[in-house]
């Protein structure tokens, strides 16, 4: 684990909607160069947790500490743009990039989608759209990436590619990453820390340890947990 101070740290975060407790004293931290993945069933509070970290929602209790002037790149779960709005990928990225078109082209190249520059957003495939969103996040020159289901709407092979891309970005740029995911075993290979969420933190730690944890097994069923344990966790990077 990286020794430097965490980019962002949440302590005992709690939030309820009316009677329903959505988050129950959740604590987590993300350090530079670290990938933290939040897994959990639907309604577990994963997206809510990210929104609190982003400052889009306020917790009822708990506190957030982040590095001063932390620059965040955010990839939301979905983009719901009206079909009447004519936006090319380029025009969409221009909104986030006062640096100009050269930076936009560089960002698209970096995420492996250099050809979509003039394509209308609505004409992008699921994988291309996710890459454009990732490029938008990178244009903010972030220290921390917050990704809400970054492989949503992407076919299986594309999912593996995207996770690899995220791991690469982390390695090249030393970014901290926190992401929400459903696809457990793909993500298990590309993460340092897993946070299994179901309102409260069921368990957290290294992917292998989490996949053997009784609460994780209870939540996802022994079959999923077993598949997970079969996947060795290759560290393709070295922390200095």
């Amino acid at each position: 684990m990286p020794a430097s101070a965490p980019l962002i740290e949440g302590k005992d975060l709690a939030l309820s909607y009316g009677q329903q407790l959505v988050l129950d004293r959740v604590s987590l931290k993300v350090s530079p160069g670290e990938i933290v993945t939040v897994v959990g069933p639907n309604g577990a509070g994963k997206t809510t947790l990210l929104k609190i970290l982003l400052g889009l929602a306020l917790p009822d209790a708990g506190r957030i500490q982040s590095k001063p002037n932390l620059r965040i790149g955010y990839v939301p779960q979905k983009l719901d743009i009206a079909p009447t709005l004519p936006l090319s990928a380029k025009r969409f990225l221009q909104m986030a990039a006062p640096q100009g078109n050269r930076a936009i082209e560089a960002a698209l190249k970096r995420v492996g989608a250099p050809k979509v520059l003039e394509t209308p957003l609505l004409g992008l495939s699921g994988g291309e759209l996710q890459r454009v969103l990732l490029a938008r996040a990178l244009l903010r020159n972030p220290e921390l990436l917050v990704l809400d289901e970054p492989v949503r709407g992407v076919d299986l092979a594309g999912q593996a590619d995207l996770y690899e891309l995220i791991a690469d970005l982390r390695k090249q740029m030393g970014l901290g990453v926190i992401m929400v995911s459903h696809d457990l075993h793909l993500v298990m290979q590309a993460t340092d820390e897993v946070l299994c969420l179901n309102g409260h933190v069921c368990c957290h730690g290294h992917p292998e340890a989490v996949s053997r944890h009784p609460e994780f097994v209870a939540l996802f069923g022994p079959r999923v947990a077993e598949t997970m344990a079969l996947y060795p966790h290759h560290h393709d990077h070295v922390h200095k």
Binding site: G55, I81, A82, T84, P86, M95, A96, P120, R136, R140
Partner: protein
């Protein structure tokens, strides 16, 4: 000879100002899926008119104040979660229309022509109306130009914009105020019931020809202006009511635009 047609030039001047601002503003109404909000705002302006009359202030100022009040009220009410916003809009829109109509009926000295209120009376515009339309119109255009970037950003994705540091609340509120102003300026031209048509139809007709948001705004203004001229011409030649003729012309252009695929 030309003196006879003075009313027509005045009508065209006022209506063109409205078409010009309705283009870009209407684009945001369409992109932000706010057509129903436009309707509600227009209906509420009847109440503003009645209030303006009762308080003995300029009627246009009354309409404007009523519209801004309505926009702010809705902005505040949308933060509560008890009713979803389409229900809330339905209540506010028709509630304020009904109360406004009652108030107008109760004001004995005010001899308002309900017909002209609902469907516009562009052939009767005065020089003062034209000044209102162009003054208000230029103000709206300038405001929209300043607001363009953040507004487009929150229209694409509000939370993304917020994380990027856009002042989301302020931008939304200022946009609502620009809309209230547009409604006030458009009332005389097409009337309360047809204002939304002028906001929504030209942008929809412009969509197949636009490759960027800015292009769509400009084309929408052009289509709106063409509708104004065609509508007024039809109104002169075959004696149609001017406001509805303008909206009907816009609708025909929209129908023709359906034949084109969007780029």
């Amino acid at each position: 000879m030309t003196g006879d047609l003075d009313f027509l030039w005045r009508a065209a001047l006022a209506a063109l100002a409205v078409a010009l601002i309705a283009g870009p503003l209407g684009c945001f109404v369409v992109w932000r899926r706010m057509a129903y909000f436009g309707d509600a705002l227009a209906h509420a302006s009847i109440l503003g008119l009645a209030l303006g009359f009762m308080l003995k202030i300029d009627l246009m100022a009354g309409v404007l104040a009523g519209g801004i009040l309505f926009a702010v009220l809705l902005f505040a009410l949308e933060r509560q979660k008890r009713l979803q916003s389409d229900t809330l809009l339905g209540i506010l829109a028709h509630g304020s229309l009904a109360i406004g109509l009652c108030a107008l009926a109760l004001a004995p000295a005010l001899n308002v022509d309900l017909q002209s209120l609902l469907f516009g009376d562009v052939l009767a515009v005065t020089i003062g109306d034209i000044l209102w339309a162009w003054g208000g119109g230029l103000f709206v255009l300038a405001g929209l130009a300043i607001l363009w970037r953040p507004l487009l950003s929150i229209t694409a994705h509000e939370e993304l914009a917020r994380v990027d540091g856009v002042a989301v609340e302020r931008t939304r509120l200022l946009f609502l105020i620009l809309m209230a102003l547009t409604v006030a300026v458009s009332m005389k031209v097409v009337g309360v019931l047809l204002i939304t048509a002028l906001l929504v139809i030209p942008p929809a007709a412009a969509r197949p020809f636009a490759r960027s948001p800015e292009q769509m705004a400009v084309i929408a203004s052009a289509i709106g202006s063409a509708s104004v001229l065609a509508g007024l011409y039809a109104s002169l030649m075959i004696d149609l009511p001017a406001g509805p003729a303008i909206v009907a012309a816009a609708t025909l252009i929209f129908a023709a635009s359906m034949a084109f695929k969007r780029p």
